[in-house]
């Protein structure tokens, strides 16, 4: 639906009626289901399974599964519009809601027809979680430096190694695992595998006790002599790095949308508080010092949204989106860090306490500059893309 809009109108910022409805459903869900329980899950770090099941029922999970495999065939623009809303409710829950898309992207993008038939429809039919296993204790930004190995043995690969920072790992039914066939060959030797949770040799470690986004589950996953059938390999041997990068190109606009939703929530809280809080016999919103903070929040949040929509639009139009995706992800992440920090500033001392909602948002925001490519990695990607073309 989106491509058609853009074809007739090369620059357009209006949503279709369907997109407005999708937005409305996500907005209602965020306001009525996600936000009321967000403080509880932040405090306890209890996994919001009830919320996720409800999100699945509504169709808010597995946005990227195409129609022929039981999905809804949504566009990337549809996805970012809804993700902004979910994140407005709670960034941690939005991260857990999005995790399936990250794990299933390699299948949607690069798996064979048979593999898609086998592994995708079950996710829309029933509530199931999948985790994307790329990072390792010693391989974060340096993806190609991974040490999880895959050794071919007849009709199987034998996986050994440890993965770190795996979203939803404790509750996942399936993993998308990247491993190296030859460490010395770095990115040329990676391959991607679909690994069901019940395969012998898999251990999920203790969940991390995180600073923010505490509603989302993050845990290490250890693979010891895990036998994976050759038919579970996505793409060819050596295509793993390319598959991972294509997946990240696709997921980064969604992460950027998450940042936009988080920033918007902080900005709204700050505006309401500024109108309500009185100092010197008047609402603090009357003071330019506060007004300028609010104006900066609004400008940068709006700019983040536009970069996010542009990146999603490029994905839908089939244009190489690496640059757009990194612009959006890095700018939106830095923005939501700044906006949430300033929101705490507007609240003053109260903002620093857990009695008020903005300190959580500030803790949640920090992660956005770290996961799915740090703020620094995004800049490396941007510079490399630009400089290589001169």
């Amino acid at each position: 639906m989106t491509t058609a809009t853009h074809a007739s109108n090369p620059i357009g910022f209006s949503l279709t009626d369907e997109q407005k409805q999708l937005q409305e459903t996500a907005r209602k869900f965020a306001a009525e289901v996600i936000r009321p329980v967000a403080p509880h899950h932040d405090r306890t770090e209890e996994f919001p399974e009830k919320v996720l099941r409800k999100a699945h029922e509504l169709g808010l999970i597995n946005l990227i599964i195409p129609e022929q495999y039981g999905g809804l065939g949504l566009s990337a623009v549809d996805g970012v519009v809804m993700t902004e809303e979910a994140a407005w409710g709670c960034a941690g829950m939005a991260t857990s809601i999005m995790a399936n898309d990250l794990a299933l992207s390699p299948i949607v993008l690069d798996a064979s027809e048979e593999q898609k038939e086998e592994w995708l429809p079950k996710f829309t039919k029933e509530y199931r979680l999948a985790s994307f296993c790329l990072s390792e204790p010693g391989a974060g930004s340096d993806v190609a430096g991974m040490t999880t190995t895959a050794r071919r043995d007849g009709d199987y690969y034998i996986l050994n190694g440890a993965k770190q920072w795996i979203t939803n790992a404790t509750y996942a039914d399936q993993f998308t695992v990247f491993a190296t066939l030859d460490k010395s060959q770095r990115h040329k030797a990676l391959a991607a595998f679909i690994v069901p949770r019940d395969t012998p040799g898999i251990t999920v470690g203790k969940p991390e006790d995180k600073m923010g986004q505490r509603a989302s589950n993050t845990a290490p996953v250890i693979f010891e002599d895990v036998k994976v059938p050759v038919r579970n390999r996505i793409g060819e041997e050596g295509q793993g790095f390319m598959i991972a990068m294509r997946t990240l190109d696709k997921s980064r606009p969604m992460v950027a949308a998450l940042c936009v939703g988080l920033a918007r929530a902080a900005m709204e809280y700050a505006m309401d508080y500024a109108n309500e809080r009185k100092q010197f016999n008047q609402p603090i919103a009357n003071f330019q010092a506060i007004q300028f903070l609010i104006a900066n929040m609004a400008m940068k949040t709006e700019a983040s949204r536009l970069l996010t929509w542009q990146a999603a639009w490029a994905l839908d139009a089939g244009i190489r989106s690496t640059l757009y995706s990194s612009y959006a992800k890095s700018f939106a992440a830095d923005t939501c860090m700044e906006v949430t920090t300033d929101a705490v500033q507007v609240y003053g001392g109260y903002g620093y306490t857990k009695e008020y909602p903005v300190e959580k948002l500030m803790r949640d925001a920090k992660l956005m500059q770290i996961y799915e490519g740090t703020a620094q990695v995004q800049r490396m990607v941007i510079a490399r893309e630009l400089l290589s073309k001169r």
């Binding site: 009626d17 409805q21 809804l72």
Partner: protein, 248 residues
């Protein structure tokens, strides 16, 4: 069974209301529009009855082309098809009732479900007028609806209690807030709604004269709330309730 249900477009009740400069009405610039919350209850009930007894749910809205958005919401919740009565300008409750009466003649539903009132003007008239025009039984402010063959049993909320009515079908029922909790339009529902039929008709094509019999001549905002007072003791409070508030 076939159910006709209404989905009036109105401004989101959560929005802060601002009047037009000349006080002729509410300033609608930049305002978000939703389905009348009581109509959402009516739609939900229609869908539940359909799920139980089978049949068809037809969603109707009257107004400018924008009201199709509200019809689509009803279809995304699970309605089968829509009818858009394309009409511009003020349509009063009586005109709404006469338009719906014509649609009922054409569609021949077993039941018409409407919100007990629209939360914009709170008239609570269209449903009752419609039943009168059709010569049908009516049960308004329903908190429970059950259908058994050719009758409907409706519990309605009346002052100080509940009243249970039995109606001969076809009949008209208007929904109260406690009738049910409306479902969300799911993503698959929204995608399917795109392909559902929305027929367009006009008051003229139905042969209905919509010239208003009732005209809004002005609106005013309620007076701003004055600041509260702190009292020192219960005696003082009672005193003030007697002398100032005059409620005792």
């Amino acid at each position: 069974m076939k159910i006709l249900v209404t989905a009036k477009r109105l401004m989101d009740p959560e929005t802060k209301i601002k009047l037009k400069k000349d006080n002729s009405g509410v300033d609608l610039e930049g305002v978000k529009f939703v389905v009348n919350p009581f109509d959402e209850n009516a739609i939900e009930e229609a869908l539940r009855l359909k799920e139980k007894h089978g049949g068809e749910v037809v969603v109707v809205s009257i107004g400018k082309p924008e009201v199709v958005e509200q019809i689509r919401t009803g279809l995304a919740m699970g309605g089968d098809r829509g009818i858009h009565v394309n009409a511009d300008g003020e349509i009063d409750s009586d005109a709404v009732a006469r338009i719906l009466a014509k649609l009922v003649e054409e569609e021949k539903p077993d039941l018409v479900l409407m919100g007990k009132q629209a939360v914009d003007d709170d008239s609570s008239q269209a449903g009752q007028l419609l039943a009168e025009y059709l010569g049908w039984g009516q049960a308004c402010f329903a908190s429970k609806v059950e259908v058994n063959g050719t009758t409907a049993t409706v519990t309605r909320e009346v002052d100080g209690g509940l009243e249970t009515l039995e109606l001969q079908l076809p009949a008209l029922v208007t929904a109260d807030l406690r009738l049910n909790e409306p479902r969300y339009a799911s993503l698959p529902g929204i995608m399917k709604a795109k392909k559902k039929e929305v027929k367009e008709v006009t008051p003229a094509s139905l042969g209905v004269d919509v010239a208003p019999k009732v005209k809004v001549t002005g609106v005013t905002v309620p007076p701003a709330r004055s600041a509260g007072k702190k009292v020192e003791s219960v005696q003082e409070l009672v005193q003030m309730l007697k002398t100032e508030a005059k409620v005792l």
